[in-house]
Symmetry: C2
Subunit: 491 residues, 2 copies
């Protein structure tokens, strides 16, 4: 059927969609969410998802409405008349159905799903069915390996000739816990390569990229990253450069409403990033505790096994450790406050949070052991080598290497939250602390967040400060104050 093109000045937020009038849909025996093929010149066709409207003021019979994503492919000014044809469901949709039926998917089927996910060929409903299939039945070992490779291959890759590329990853959920920014300079000081790509925050008060950005740039192209590495051996950059985020962020959007977190999808998403930078040795930190992503050791052990098996299949030597995930690690929560903690530690200053320092030393030592490197993380840190390396990295990443902790700008408005009784700290609620920091403005306001003075088991007197909230605007500070609730329990 020949139709006149018309721009629907609206975005679908991803999927390629075109809309026709109900009358034309009836003629062609088409339903909403069917696939159609649009032939827009003598050579080019594009497959899109069909939407149907009854509203003649939107799209009249005889017209094809192009949503913004589709209009980027078909220029309605150049292609005034196009032909549309019914099209079979793509192979990926049949594969999703198969997964929902509880069957194992082949390499090819998973590759097609990832490809169509990346190229906006799947509707949100279809992606939801894929997530539901992965959630209910789980992903088999083979499926997870295929998915990891497919995601890694859809993006860019870095291939160095180095024999060892060390890496670390934390499963997350713990406020601050900014070990990466201490471990990376320690590892790089010892002559090993560490290409640390990190995410920006999605639901936390700060991602490693948000915190690193307080000290230096984190957005680089793959070529720029290679140049940085030549100078420094180590870097801490935003994972966006690898362009793997597309498949990931689309899955995350659909997983969000029901907070579905199938372990197969999580493992694939994490390991794909490691595979993309050619990591050879990987330390994975699984914090376990109330308010962490993993709340009990049993779940942690299952996850550990999966990680090890999949990583082995990818040729990455991997070690998984469990750490205490029941309270924040470090004192500052929010990009600037966390960056200050990191500098305190690297510069051996009195304000350094001991828990974060000790955890970072332990992790770096583990990485030395994993890579058979004779080196002491504590020595490297205490001798100032790690700080020197950090300054090199900050410089290579176009930051000011000489910045002092006290020069980091913290939110100008503050609110001290004081203990209502004398006793010892019983519990600090990770989720609540994160919420307060986010409402105060983190991570988009770099200086926003909170600073915790006391950790679990420490003594506190009535009227003594438990934490200070920092914010850059009055309204946000009030919102944050309203969420304090029982963030810290004194007994």
């Amino acid at each position: 059927m020949q139709l006149k093109t018309k721009e629907v000045k609206f975005s679908t937020g991803g999927p390629l969609v075109a809309v026709i009038n109900e009358k034309d849909a009836t003629k062609l025996d088409l339903n909403a969410l069917d696939r159609i093929k649009i032939k827009y010149n003598s050579v080019n066709t594009v497959n899109v998802i069909l939407d149907i409207t009854k509203d003649n003021t939107k799209v009249r019979p005889g017209y094809l409405g192009l949503f913004e994503e589709t209009a980027k492919i078909i220029d309605s000014k150049k292609h005034k008349i196009v032909s549309i044809y019914p099209s079979e469901n793509p192979f990926s949709v049949e594969a999703i159905r198969k997964k929902l039926d509880g069957k194992e998917l082949s390499k090819k089927e998973i590759e097609f799903i990832v490809k169509d996910l990346v190229s906006n060929g799947l509707s949100d409903i279809e992606i939801a069915y894929f997530v539901a299939g992965c959630y209910k039945k789980g992903l088999t070992y083979k499926e997870t390996v295929y998915l990891t490779k497919a995601i890694a291959n859809e993006g860019k890759t870095i291939k160095l000739k180095n024999k060892i590329v060390a890496d670390k990853h934390c499963v997350g959920g713990i406020p601050n816990n900014r070990t990466t920014m201490i471990v990376t300079p320690i590892i790089a000081s010892a002559g090993l390569t560490m290409i640390k790509t990190s995410s920006r925050s999605i639901t936390s008060p700060s991602g490693t990229s948000d915190t690193m950005e307080v000290l230096a740039k984190v957005d680089f192209t793959v070529d720029e990253i290679k140049n940085i590495l030549k100078k420094t051996n180590g870097c801490m950059v935003w994972a966006g450069a690898m362009e793997l985020a597309s498949a990931d962020s689309k899955l995350i959007k659909v997983r969000h409403p029901l907070r579905l977190d199938p372990s197969g999808l999580m493992i694939a998403s994490i390991l794909a990033k490691k595979a993309a930078v050619g990591s050879t040795h990987l330390l994975i930190d699984i914090p376990v505790g109330h308010g962490a992503k993993i709340t009990n050791k049993k779940d942690g052990k299952k996850l550990k096994k999966k990680f090890e098996k999949i990583a082995r299949a990818l040729g990455i030597k991997t070690r998984v450790i469990f750490t205490n995930g029941s309270q924040p690690i470090g004192n500052g929560i929010g990009p600037a406050l966390e960056a200050r903690d990191v500098l305190y530690i690297l510069r051996r200053e009195p304000g350094a949070p001991k828990d974060l320092e000790e955890k970072a030393i332990m992790m770096a030592d583990r990485l030395f052991r994993l890579t058979n490197t004779k080196a002491s993380a504590r020595e490297i840190l205490e001798s100032g080598q790690a700080y020197k390396k950090m300054k090199e990295i900050i410089k290579a990443q176009q930051g000011n290497p000489n910045i002092l902790p006290e020069q980091i700008v913290i939110g100008k408005l503050k609110y001290d939250y004081k203990s209502k009784k004398t006793g010892s700290i019983e519990h600090i609620d990770n989720l609540r602390i994160a919420k307060i920091a986010r409402l105060a403005g983190a991570p988009s306001n770099k200086g926003a967040g909170l600073y915790i003075y006391k950790k679990v088991s420490e003594q506190v007197k009535r009227g003594e400060k438990l934490f200070t909230i920092y914010s850059e605007n009055r309204e946000k500070l009030e919102l944050a104050k309203g969420a304090i609730d029982s963030a810290i329990i004194v007994k």
Copy 2:
């Protein structure tokens, strides 16, 4: 947060959605698909699903974009400034998550899901997760009963004082098979009440309502239906009057892309319609065969058991029968051609298709037995009583009771498809026949469709007509011709 309202001149196709700029979303720590509460005057609030845009030309910071469905509730001219608040996920979303986790839902949980489904409170993604949960795990007996009652109660109901309200239902998939239009007048002739509500076609060439509409009106309010029944005991009307379709059609839309047909959802959807009109006795026809919805007896038996169990819980005396579903029943396919078949039978004319006539007699007799009624369907049909009753019903439903079969207008363009060899008919493909009729224009062009001359096992000579396609326009006739393929196989 206070925002200025702005109409987004676009429909979501159902869900209540409002959109804010990404900057405001970050401030409030909100993600796409979160729920927000909009307070639009001193008394009224409405909960909607949140969408987020980065595009300042669509919705600038400080503004709240109202999609058409939401704009119907909040008049942006009257309510220029509104306040929005983050809102918890509705109870129904938590229930959907529970179902996806494989747990049984309570009566209350199912009621909330149906309520939010009807009131556009769920996103397509959330509905897809509900369907996935029902598909993977199935619905338990209790869940199906709760779901059926919830759907029935969300709509309108008819409560007569009659002791017996007979009903029938066919699980479907067989072209023509218009038994309802013969059974209903037979049953009503015997003095029983039969309130037959039927659907319009969604994917078939004609629904009973489409065919009945050739002879009379089918759109009536509940009060009008009651008035018709006072005169006739029987009616054949569109099920839309009961306003149950809302939950149903929303589920169907989301089930479509992966063709998911969880039996629990199907049973609930069917029995809710029976419960809504107060049916006491119900005959269910499950056609079994290649190209029918149920392709083997084993699946049929499972479905039969479920139907009986759920119907019993609803207090409906139910009998399930299996019939031959391997080929069309009757000769005409498409609204007008089917209506003509029905009149041929009721008027005892030579053109009457024997298979449809015999099936209708058998079914009416089953209903007599089920209701302990002493009557013979064949006698009622052959004596002309059934036709007399049909004329009463047509008149009560504002049609022309004296219409003759030859006065029914059939598509003016036609194409005869002839046998290429001499032999016997081996197979008639239900799906293919339906496709041809739809492409020819059925059901929206009442006269379009096809007429089959030969059924399975009948002899045919080379060059003899197998079927004729009727259409009202040249283009559609060509489309239908192009789909003939191997609709009928001669051996």
